[in-house]
């Protein structure tokens, strides 16, 4: 298309060098391109037809077909290279989700951070082999972010050395739109732990919920699908109810806290150690959601360079809509935001890796900082990305409403992120709580140091 070629010839910078910077260096870019080539060479990993034309059943069928085929391509699944693995999965399933989405994104990372070395040795091979399809079930129908009020209980019985998982009310049913209801055979269940007559708060447990061979629900476990979602319909919208379901004591994830055979509870060295998994997921989310905005601005910008509309000077022909200042103001600030949010997401991952190293040494002093930062970034970025995608949709005129633009799918996917992994407003209030502590503490350091400074001038120096 001559219009878009003309645009490319105008560039004032080296595009390849920008790409390298944006993707964090040549090594990461090469790994990314390797995945892309792999997908180009393996048609069986791609969609038979565009997914917006598929029904929910067809979408699930399509996801499973690609998933089953992926067993042959396990060279692309490498948990030592989480970046390459997640990009591969993202490229195979794009924004449709699939039964293994939460397995890789949450089940494995939480297992990795919360299971003891002995537990990891037993479970990780099963989880990696594909015989275990896992998800993470913390949320309940009636409870989200307020973990302390989760209704599901895990009561320790020292006589049998088992935990009894129980859902006391319908509002306590686990609800997780990440394949909990139909496709997973295991889940990490977060339940309030009771032992020796005392509630010790929410703890994670490794729980088998379906038979490994028949895939039927286990006795005293009731589970199913709630129904279609706005997006991510390649995975089911599951619910799960326990009726005094027994699991061995060893199924409690015991890296940080433990229950001994006699029922004695051993506290974690730091109360917030269990937040590591959440922080990891949010750190991934910020960058991924920024990427959705990058997708949307790419669509809106390219389309605006080929779409012509209006003829300001009669006889001179219609102009590219990208030349209108109003169109530029709709798109360009969001190009800038896509980059800003990506940088913030990348940095968050750097900090997360650093804090994880410290946690392994038992040092948890920075955990509240990164917990607050990841909560706030997740909340702000998901909300603003959602607004940005909407502006990009409007920038594409009527075609932006069509699935052919790709924008409805981006929009539907992204708006989910405003509520999953913590409702945005609740997260912002958690940040506020953290700030109240920083303000009132005698010394504030790191990202809160500015709170204890005085303004250097009464007026801006601008």
């Amino acid at each position: 298309n001559p219009d878009i070629t003309e645009e490319r010839l105008k560039a004032t910078f080296d595009v390849d060098r920008f790409t390298e910077f944006y993707h964090g260096g040549l090594k990461r870019l090469k790994s990314r391109r390797k995945v892309e080539r792999y997908l180009e060479e393996h048609a069986e990993l791609r969609d038979i037809r565009p997914t917006p034309f598929m029904s929910r059943d067809e979408l699930i069928d399509n996801s499973i077909r690609k998933l089953a085929g992926m067993a042959k391509f396990n060279e692309m699944i490498d948990l030592n290279d989480i970046e390459k693995t997640t990009y591969f999965l993202q490229m195979v399933h794009v924004r449709d989700s699939m039964p293994f989405s939460l397995h890789y994104l949450m089940f494995l990372p939480v297992l990795n951070s919360q299971a003891s070395p002995e537990q990891l040795a037993t479970w990780m091979p099963l989880a990696l082999s594909g015989t275990v399809i896992g998800t993470y079930a913390q949320t309940e129908m009636g409870h989200g972010t307020n973990l302390s009020k989760l209704e599901t209980t895990a009561t320790y019985d020292p006589n049998t050395q088992e935990f009894i998982l129980h859902t006391p009310t319908i509002s306590g049913a686990k609800w997780w739109p990440g394949s909990l209801g139909k496709f997973c055979n295991h889940a990490i269940i977060v339940a309030n732990l009771w032992t020796q007559g005392k509630c010790e708060g929410p703890h994670p447990f490794w729980v088998q919920i379906r038979d490994s061979e028949t895939h039927e629900a286990l006795k005293n476990v009731r589970l199913g699908d709630i129904g279609p979602k706005l997006s991510l319909n390649g995975s089911d919208n599951g619910y799960l109810i326990f009726d005094n379901f027994r699991i061995p004591r060893e199924n409690m994830l015991m890296r940080h806290s433990k229950v001994l055979p006699d029922g004695t509870y051993v506290k974690p060295p730091h109360s917030k150690l269990a937040y590591g998994g959440m922080v990891f997921v949010r750190s991934m989310m910020v960058r991924d959601i920024a990427n959705h905005l990058a997708n949307a601005v790419t669509i809106a910008t390219r389309y605006s360079a080929v779409r012509r509309q209006g003829e300001p000077v009669p006889g001179k022909g219609e102009v590219k809509i990208l030349d209108y200042q109003t169109q530029q103001y709709r798109i360009f600030p969001y190009i800038a935001k896509a980059i800003a949010f990506r940088i913030a997401g990348e940095e968050l991952q750097v900090i997360f890796r650093e804090v994880s190293k410290q946690l392994k040494k038992g040092e948890a002093s920075q955990l509240p900082d990164i917990h607050a930062l990841s909560s706030g970034l997740k909340a702000l970025v998901t909300f603003e990305v959602q607004q940005g995608i909407e502006q990009c949709r409007l920038a594409c005129g009527g075609h932006g409403y069509s699935h052919a633009s790709g924008i409805p799918e981006l929009s539907a996917f992204s708006c989910g992120s405003c509520t999953y992994e913590g409702d945005n407003l609740v997260l912002m209030l958690q940040v506020a709580k953290y700030l109240t502590k920083a303000v009132t503490s005698p010394v504030a350091s790191g990202i809160c140091a500015y709170l204890h400074k005085k303004s250097s001038a009464l007026q801006s120096a601008l």
Binding site: Y22, N295, T301, K337, G376, C396, L425
Partner: protein, 185 residues
């Protein structure tokens, strides 16, 4: 200084000022409310969440400027223009906060607006190349409108071939429900 010489340090100081003010105001309100009301936190929660948002904005502004300062020299101009567009737009859209107690004047806000229009004109010739540089593969983009080759309208006609509605000229539902009614009329 003008928007062209508005330094990173000055920008960060201005955001720190506004954020600190938002946080401390919310805390003061909370402190007063705590003495009289049991649900003080709830009654201050809108301001508290807004203060939290400023804290995160400040973090992003700081980290973006810092990261760009380490970028390759030849990329700095385009990256700085994008960063300034993001920052100035944030300031102008929230000008009330920056103008409280005369910290910034209307003239300074106008200067920032000029910065936005300047940045947009500078970005315009680079816009397509910037989004190209995100290097989003067509498999991921899943968009006829955003296809790299720009052949949008032929692409849309290709797309129509996937529609099940086009498999038959007359839709089944028309034959089933509307045709009998039309025949009766």
């Amino acid at each position: 200084s003008s928007h062209k010489t508005y330094s990173d340090l000055q920008i960060v100081q201005d955001f720190e000022h506004v954020t600190r003010r938002a946080v401390l105001q919310a805390m003061d309100k909370l402190k007063i409310a705590s003495g009289t009301m049991p649900d003080a936190w709830n009654r201050c929660s809108v301001e508290l969440s807004k203060a939290a948002r400023w804290h995160i904005r400040l973090y992003i502004v700081r980290i973006v400027l810092s990261k760009i300062s380490t970028a390759p020299e030849d990329l700095k101009p385009v990256l700085r223009t994008l960063a300034k567009l993001y920052i100035f737009d944030l300031q102008v859209s929230n000008k009330g906060h920056f103008m409280e107690e005369g910290y910034m004047s209307a003239q300074q806000i106008d200067e920032l607006k000029e910065g936005i229009w300047d940045a947009m004109s500078t970005i315009r010739p680079d816009a397509v190349s910037i989004v190209d540089a995100f290097a989003i593969h067509e498999i991921e983009l899943k968009s006829v409108l955003g296809r790299r080759d720009g052949n949008v309208y032929p692409g849309l006609m290709e797309w129509t071939k996937h529609s099940q509605l086009n498999e038959k000229d007359v839709p089944v539902a028309f034959d089933k429900y509307l045709a009998p009614i039309i025949k009766k009329l």
